[in-house]
Amino acid sequence: MLYIALSFCMLPSVQAVEVIMNASDSKELIKENMDLRSIFSMRTRYWANNEKIRVFVLPDNHILHKNFVKQKLHMFPHQLRRTWDRMTYTGTGQPPITVDSVAEMLEKIKHTKYSIGYIDRRIEDEKIYFFDTQ
């Protein structure tokens, strides 16, 4: 509930977007030339240790998703959707897993090894690693 209340307080001004990872082994996972656009477009599919990247996103019409795509990927949600749909409906790839809320996103990232996603603020949690702290 707290997360939901918080995210409402922050609307509709320009929202902070923080890219987060599951904290286990996080330092070994990132390669130098990895970029977020490639990870979220599902083109870079494995971490440096060859584990599959578990990508989580919010629905296309979620304000945080729109902000994330614009601010961090320098793209628009419909461009990402085009890429994902092409792989989904030709069987040539798997799209990210969609969660319904920021609270669910946080839970998924905490409990899924090798995962990546985004939330709307910085928090103190030993299970969460912030992508830009590298």
Partner: protein
Amino acid sequence: MKKFIFLILNSLAYTMYALSFSLNAQQITEDTQADIALQQETFNWSTLKKTWEDDIQFHGFFSQGLFHSTGNNVYGKSKDSVSADLTEIGLNMSYQALNNLSFAAQGLYRRAGASTGDAGEVTLDFAFADITFLSFSQGRLGVRGGRIKNPWGFYNETRDVASTHPTIFLPLIYFERSRALLIAIDGGQLYADYSSPIGDFLFTFNYGYSHDNKELLLAITSDPDVSGKLDSDPGFMTQLHYEIMGGQYAFAISYADLNSSYTSSKSFDPYTGLESNIDSLMLSAQYNGEKFSLVGEYNIQWNSFSFPQAGADFSPVSEYWYIQASYRFLDNLQMTIRYDSSSQDKSDRSGKNFHAATGLPAHLMYTQDAVIGLRWDITPSWMLRAEYQRVHGASTVSLLDNPDLSKLVKDWNIYALQVSFRF
């Protein structure tokens, strides 16, 4: 329909789930140990669900159209009436077994006017194994074997998934009559992805057999009584797709070489020995901005049809192109306009020679149309859209929905509505 879902879920899901369970047993143990304190109560369900979600995915789509037209029929009996004869339902499953090995399959139920009949058709849309033999951080190289969708222009691969194209009717370049020829290939695909500082490249080369094609046979012979089948010989379709700035600009060049030969079902068949050879080149370009999108595609097709019984050969060169602009008033409300042009024979654009030779209407040789459509994405899954088309010509109508060729009307209208769901 029930039988179809039952079949997909039972045969594919069960084997893949069983496989996944054994392959991921080790991972489950590790995860469980790490999270044991937190997940003690829900351990079984949450860990199993995690494995399921991560490596096996199910997706699908559904759409239903409603059509009214003047002059000619589209998708059933729409002329001066209302037809609901376009239904598309797909269900797919993909399974990432290993980092370099995956499987995917999709079942399709489709009801599209007379070409599928009232009951519709269930087909295996794609089903293949995918092996990546070279994978590096900027790209990968691999092969797929089985039934594979053909990359052809921007929209062919996902032509039955309503939400992936901006209007209800695809541009004429995606010729409904050649659908079976273009949709998928039974054989193999070589693919290569490469992400470079100047953009992302995707190359595919498909080799194999196309599907049997009743509509194409009717179009070639202009004879509703033709009784045999047009069977595919091995052919290929290849595409180089290039995009920059995350897809803001996209370009593609596609080439196909597809051959079919006629199998007669009776003796003294006038079409015995009929051969069809099609070489086709498509150029595609797209700008895809935040509000505004612009798409253009051009296709030139060299056909060769030989009728040994009649001692006749025809080699018309067909040409198709369109330009399409879309504007998003809101993130979920988009208007699209398009101008389409298609000509069955560049040397007989008005159809005059065709009419003189066959007595059939000249407008069987060309179509131009103007389309305006409005699309509303109610939620990320549900979409509703409406469309109007003013059509001049009849080269692209289904000859199964319009069996009396002499009655085809030259200037006509289409009004359409469609609702779709995807997951």
